[in-house]
Amino acid sequence: MSYRTPLAKVDGLGAAHSGVEHFWRQRVTAVALVPLSIWFVYAALGLVGADRDTALAFLHEPVNAVLLILFILATVIHMALGVQVVIEDYLPNETQKIVALMLNRAFAWAVGAVCLLAVLKIAI
């Protein structure tokens, strides 16, 4: 039994019923991605023209594997949230919107899963 009133439960959650969670998660991942994506571009530039063994050796380094995993996680979360806003803004049809939102999440999870499995397989 809860003594919280219905008003208290929805207080601050607004029209989207999820409060500022989406907004904050977008900002936190954005802040994380500023240094992480600079590192990623630097690392990717270093691997331009490298053969497979060099690329594998790069990911064998724990520091590189950890940074890449952090980059991937922050990226897929930031990406899912960002594309979600675009879908919500531009798809007026409710059915289309729900389907697109599900596909968006599925895409982010799939990209994340493939990337993480590949990095772990190489690094371990």
């Binding site: 991605l33 994506s37 571009v41 530039l45 990406m79 990209v111 990095v119």
Partner: protein
């Protein structure tokens, strides 16, 4: 619908001006480009997944990816991703500054918008040139 609204009236109702009526401020352009580059980077994330999967899968798959990346179309796509990252990180950083509450003055926001567009092109071209020199000889 238009007939219903207009019927029984001497004059049709005035219409509010739509988007194309307004002159484009630079902030409007960067706002739209920020979204477009964000969407483009989703495709970029899929390419990253492909690269990592190919790298993990084996020499043949990795060679296929590298050969495709080296084609003119592959190079255009990679440059597009690189420019998208460059723009999105610069514009995104400005968004964070806006979130803290700075840079809203009309002159500042428009000037920074133009600066971001130019800087992103310089950044992407510079990094791409470094990669190109690394691949095709020359001493960087």
């Amino acid at each position: 619908m238009a007939e219903n609204a207009a019927s029984g009236r001497a004059h049709p109702r005035p219409l509010s001006p739509h988007l194309q009526i307004y002159r484009w401020p630079a902030t409007m352009a960067t706002s739209i480009i920020h979204r477009m580059t964000g969407m483009a980077l989703s495709a970029g994330a899929a390419i990253l997944a492909w690269w990592l999967a190919a790298l993990a899968a084996g020499p043949d798959q990795y060679r296929l990816f590298c050969n495709l990346a080296a084609t003119p179309l592959g190079q255009i796509v990679l440059f597009g991703v690189l420019w998208s990252i460059s723009f999105h990180i610069l514009s995104g950083f400005r968004h964070l500054v806006w979130d803290i509450g700075y840079g809203f003055a009309k002159k500042t926001s428009n000037g920074v918008s133009v600066l971001i567009v130019l800087l992103s092109i310089v950044l992407a071209t510079g990094i791409f040139a470094l990669g190109y020199l690394k691949l095709h000889g020359g001493t960087p």
